[in-house]
Amino acid sequence: MSTVAETAQKSPSTRSLAARLIRQRSALIGLVIVLFFVFLALFAPLIAPYDPVASDWLTVRQPPSAAHWMGTDDLGRDVLSRVIYGSQASLLAGTIAVSIAILAGLPLGLIAGYFGGWIDTVISRCTDALLACPFLVLAIALAAFLGASLQNAMIAIGISAMPIFIRLVRGQVLSIKNEDFVTAARGQGMRDGPIIVSHILPNVVTPVVVQATITMAVAILAEASLAFLGLGQKPPAASWGSMLDVARQFMTNAPWMSIWPGLAIVTIVLGFNLLGDGLNDALNEKD
């Protein structure tokens, strides 16, 4: 039994990954950006200077000023406050969508990779079919079928991202299922279920964490895209995508309405991309 545990511990762990990550400067910048937006989302009611949904007809489409640092929108709402609150929708959508993708994709990938045979063929062919469909096209179609709301957008993005995790996990399982520690566990009479949970799963977690970070960036962009098309968060609640949809009509006389929510999306997505890239490099770094 000790041999199994010792061999299993040799696989890359999340802790060693974190240690390697600290050495990556760009990844740390990404982490700081992500933590900044998490802070904004969590403490939005304390940070935002105004109510993000309160209209003020006396301050409609005002340019940036001391009172409204990012100006106001077509209904006189403070753009800065809406950008701050918008981080909640983006991070929530990203987190829930990625969680759905992992919760559905991880077990399917484990089953396909570990058991092989007809079950692998069925899961893999279905995964290929979903992967053949462009990500955003699939997300738009699912969101449309489910109905326009933030909740349904998250489900649609989660389902669209699921095949990536199935394929990743299946590949990981295939590469480790014949390792000594798994064979030893089988030899000791362990059943398939406990082997998957105790020996396979811990070795799959790290690449899944890396993929989840990269997918967060994609999911946030997808949520903004769906909201922009009117298939995500509904007004008056703040969402960067829907803010840009409205801002499009006032490009000539209120450009600040477009600039700030867009910059917020670019920054948070860049943060997750930098972090994901750094994690990926750390994962592939040789000991």
């Binding site: 760009s26 079919a129 979903l130 053949a132 670019v266 890239d277």
Partner: protein
């Protein structure tokens, strides 16, 4: 002969993928709330009329029969009639697809022109300021939402400078020059993200090629660095980039959805958005299936290109 065998085997694996997707797409439509016969009947709620509509469109048949009938129609290019435009969806696809393909090809040219030199320079100057700048710019390119970038470009080049139109479309056959003016900004928007991807692939590929023995030999022979890079390294380093590029053309369809929406271009991407908002689900079905078929075809082309371009695999 070996190549023909390879293509045949790849085609055989693509068929189940498309068949499974067709089942998904068919069922998605079937599980929608609401009875299509009632929608087609409109105001006329006479049970006899509704029954005749059901019989005419085969809606009274068992689900597997409905699927087979639908699939046979799709295979002959019959995707049904759009409830919004009242046009055959097959005809709409024939009209819209070339528009998006033109945009995608222009975007891919922009992506290659920017991405390949940038990725090569980043690989040559690995770890230096140029590499960091190019890599970060690449990541930024991947992080920009296409719809926002489109808005910003419209604000600069259409609204402020007045150089290019803010939206709309003129067919290439009506006026090639006007067509270029109308498609330039959307192509730049689509090409930016693609350039970032091409740049990253070129950089990674060149980094591994620059370590190869044949590059070292070329340098040892005293060849100029420019010749070593262009004739020896880049020629081999671009093999995976070409295949990625072919594959990425399919991904551009995703980006085209939003770009066409922002610029009001009547392409394939706008077709799905219009289909969604007018609840024209047969159109949505057709677009998903066609996107997947194009993606599968491009994957096949990417694989063939890889085998063709890679001397080791050919041998």
């Amino acid at each position: 002969m070996a190549m023909l065998n390879f293509i045949f085997r790849r085609l055989l694996t693509a068929i189940p993928t498309l068949l499974i997707l067709s089942v998904f797409v068919f069922l998605l439509l079937k599980f929608l709330p609401g009875d299509p016969a009632l929608v087609l009947a409109g105001e006329d709620r006479d049970p006899a009329v509704i029954a005749s509509i059901r019989a005419r469109y085969g809606l009274d048949q068992p689900l597997p029969i409905q699927y087979v009938t639908w699939l046979l129609g799709v295979l002959q290019g019959d995707f049904g009639i759009s409830i919004r435009t009242k046009m055959p969806i097959g005809d709409m696809l024939v009209q819209r697809l070339p528009v998006t393909l033109q945009l995608s090809l222009q975007a891919m040219i922009i992506a290659c022109v920017i991405g390949i030199p940038a990725g090569t320079i980043a690989a040559i100057r690995r770890g230096k300021a140029t590499d960091v700048a190019v890599t970060t710019a690449g990541l930024a390119g991947l992080s920009i939402p296409s719809f926002w970038f489109g808005i910003i470009l419209i604000m600069i080049f259409a609204v402020s400078l007045g150089w290019l139109p803010s939206g709309g479309y003129v067919s290439f056959w009506d006026s090639p020059l006007e067509n270029l003016r109308y498609t330039l900004l959307p192509s730049i928007v689509l090409g930016t993200a693609a350039a970032a991807i091409i740049m990253r692939h070129t950089r990674n590929s060149m980094l591994s090629i620059l370590k190869e023995d044949f590059v070292r030999t070329a340098r040892a022979k005293g060849l100029k660095e420019r010749i070593v890079i262009v004739r020896h390294a880049l020629r081999n380093g671009l093999i995976p980039v070409v295949t990625t590029g072919a594959l990425h053309l399919g991904e551009l369809l995703s980006g085209a959805v939003l770009t066409e929406q922002v610029f009001g271009i009547p392409g394939f991407g706008k077709m799905i958005v219009d289909g969604v908002f007018s609840r024209d689900y047969a159109v949505v079905q057709a677009v998903i299936l066609c996107s997947a078929a194009i993606f599968v075809l491009l994957s096949l082309i990417a694989d063939i290109l890889y085998v063709k371009l890679s001397p080791r695999l050919q041998a």
